[in-house]
């Protein structure tokens, strides 16, 4: 006991289960076991009869295969992701410049920021009837929903990141005679990249919600119509399969963005 104290300073885990996850192999095994336990619980909790009951893992898997084998799911996902992609592009192309400008022009900041705060505070979904009334059941309407869900986070985080750039760095560049434009390009923007990426990550999470909401409320040819069709025929398992697929897509996209964030921000970690 005394030797332990000297060695690490911290107390060693007392539970034997904690010892299990001390090695990489142990962690992998525990994760696989957890996944199997989850699937097992799902299988036991589910119901194998076709009806409006929680379907088992097996039946959901079969339903998933049914959707994939004839290409229905792929086509729906492709259509839906076009909305997401367009939304993200608009979000970045508009959000980052607006964020930079709000950080640099104080009047603009005092005008824009309250509206952004408002967009964050209110449930954007409440605006969907308005969007639908103005733009109809169109691609543009769905993209608008995605953008409204995500863009406040891009703007806020960009503005904060630009404001937090160490003033000594801009002072240094000024002392070498750099112009405002050069300072923005070579000092402020690179320094703000980690903050902007954090904003993009949060915005992506929101945009994914926006994508689903847009699909389900402003129904087009994507997963929205697929779900509506399956709901009409009381088929729970394929709807669950679609939901899990979307969640997994979300996790995948978030992981990719986090990876990019870490790579771009490597210099900022000491």
């Amino acid at each position: 006991m005394a030797a332990d104290k000297v060695k690490g300073g911290a107390e060693r885990p007392r539970w034997s289960l904690d010892r299990l996850v001390e090695t990489g192999l142990g962690r992998t095994l525990v994760r696989i076991a957890a996944l199997l336990a989850l699937i097992g619980a799902w299988q036991l909790a589910g119901n194998d009869t076709i009806g409006l009951l929680f379907p088992t893992f097996g039946r959901t898997l079969v339903a998933f295969w049914g959707l994939v084998s004839d290409g229905t799911l792929q086509v729906a996902l492709l259509v839906t992701n076009q909305t997401l992609l367009a939304g993200i592009i608009v979000m970045l192309v508009v959000g980052i410049p607006v964020g930079i400008m709000t950080a640099r022009v104080s009047v603009l900041d005092r005008i824009v920021t309250p509206y952004i705060t408002f967009l964050v505070a209110i449930p954007v979904i409440a605006l969907i009837p308005v969007i639908q009334a103005i733009l109809g059941l169109t691609f543009a309407a769905r993209v608008t929903v995605v953008v409204l869900f995500g863009i406040p986070y891009v703007i806020i985080n960009t503005a904060v990141a630009v404001r937090r750039v160490d003033p000594v760095l801009t002072e240094m560049a000024t002392s070498f005679g750099a112009s405002r434009l050069v300072i923005l390009r070579d000092v402020v923007l690179p320094a703000a990249v980690p903050g902007i990426m954090a904003g993009i990550r949060i915005a992506l999470g929101q945009a994914l919600i926006g994508m689903v909401v847009a699909e389900l409320t402003i129904v087009g040819a994507g997963i929205g119509s697929l779900i509506a069709d399956l709901q009409g025929r009381f088929r729970v398992a394929p709807v669950l399969a679609i939901a899990v697929t979307i969640v997994l897509e979300g996790v995948l996209l978030m992981t990719i963005v986090e990876w990019i964030e870490r790579r771009l921000g490597r210099w900022s970690q000491s």
Binding site: G9, A10, E11, P13, W15, L17, D18, L20, V21, E22, R27, V30, R31, A33, A34, L38, L52, L53, F54, V107, R110, I111, T113, P114, A121, I122, P123, I125, A126, L127, I128, P129, V130, Q132, A133, I134, G205, L208, I209, M211, V212, V213, L216, T217, I227, Q231, F234, V236, V239, L240, I242, A243, I246, V247, L248, G250, V251, M254
Partner: protein, 252 residues
């Protein structure tokens, strides 16, 4: 006078732009007979009528109850998972990935599934609230457990304190702000989840009203309902942040 001028300086441009926008809305709404844009005054009048008629009381109550049940469930479940993760590396390794995924993935995709399984009753709304808020509560509970100074825990150990005593006297007080932050974020997400769910479910509750007015195109009433939802969300989030401020102040 000093505070007035500083208020005018800080919020002046925003208030001015807000007034300009309101005026523009009113003028355009009156001059152009657009079905999608009723004048602001009509919206405010509809908001008053809606409130005075009592048509919103029952749906508001339904929604609030669903929110409360959902939040209590999230708090219980999320704290249990989070405390487990914070205290044990094993639980953290086993459940961490799912909590992290649930935090960032679009859980709203499950609403159609809830709707089919639970029907249009309160269970669907409660499940939606839980799906939206449980992971943030768990994450913050885990952080709360890890927030305490390891030297304090070592000190308590050296005095022979039991695990429970350490939990109660060291970990809980140190983690309280994180718990409350988790609760506040949980409510914010829960309210969003509820309203998202409502709009999707679109039969009962506030969202039901949106759908109803949205489809029959009585736009002034529709905007009034949106206004109501916005106020509702703001009050719910504001209430929790006020309460948590009070609690943390008392802790000190």
């Amino acid at each position: 006078m000093g505070w007035l001028s500083s208020l005018a300086y800080r919020n002046g441009p925003f208030l001015l732009s807000l007034a300009a926008l309101a005026l523009l809305w009113e003028v355009v709404g009156r001059s152009i007979d657009l079905i999608t844009l009723p004048p602001l005054s009509a919206v405010l009048a509809a908001f008053y009528d809606l409130w005075a008629s009592g048509a919103v009381t029952a749906p508001l109550l339904d929604s609030t109850l669903a929110l409360l049940y959902g939040l209590v469930l999230s708090l219980a479940l999320g704290s249990l998972i989070g405390i487990g993760m914070g205290l044990s590396r094993f639980v953290d390794v086993a459940l961490g990935p799912y909590v992290k995924a649930g935090l960032s993935a679009p859980m709203i995709a499950f609403v159609p599934v809830f709707l089919m399984i639970f029907g249009i009753g309160p269970a669907t709304r409660i499940a939606t609230v839980v799906a939206f808020s449980v992971f943030i509560v768990a994450t913050n509970a885990a952080t709360a457990m890890r927030a305490s100074d390891p030297r304090l825990i070592e000190m308590a150990h050296s005095f022979g304190a039991s695990r429970w005593a350490i939990f109660r006297d060291v970990r809980l007080p140190a983690g309280a702000p994180y718990f409350l932050a988790g609760l506040r974020l949980g409510v914010a997400r829960g309210v969003k989840g509820l309203i998202n769910g409502e709009v999707l479910i679109a039969i009962i509750g506030l969202g039901g009203l949106v759908k109803k007015y949205g489809t029959v195109f009585s736009m002034d009433q529709l905007y009034a309902v949106i206004l109501l939802i916005v106020v509702y969300a703001a009050i719910a989030v504001g209430l929790v942040s006020a309460v948590s401020r009070l609690l943390v102040a008392e802790e000190k």
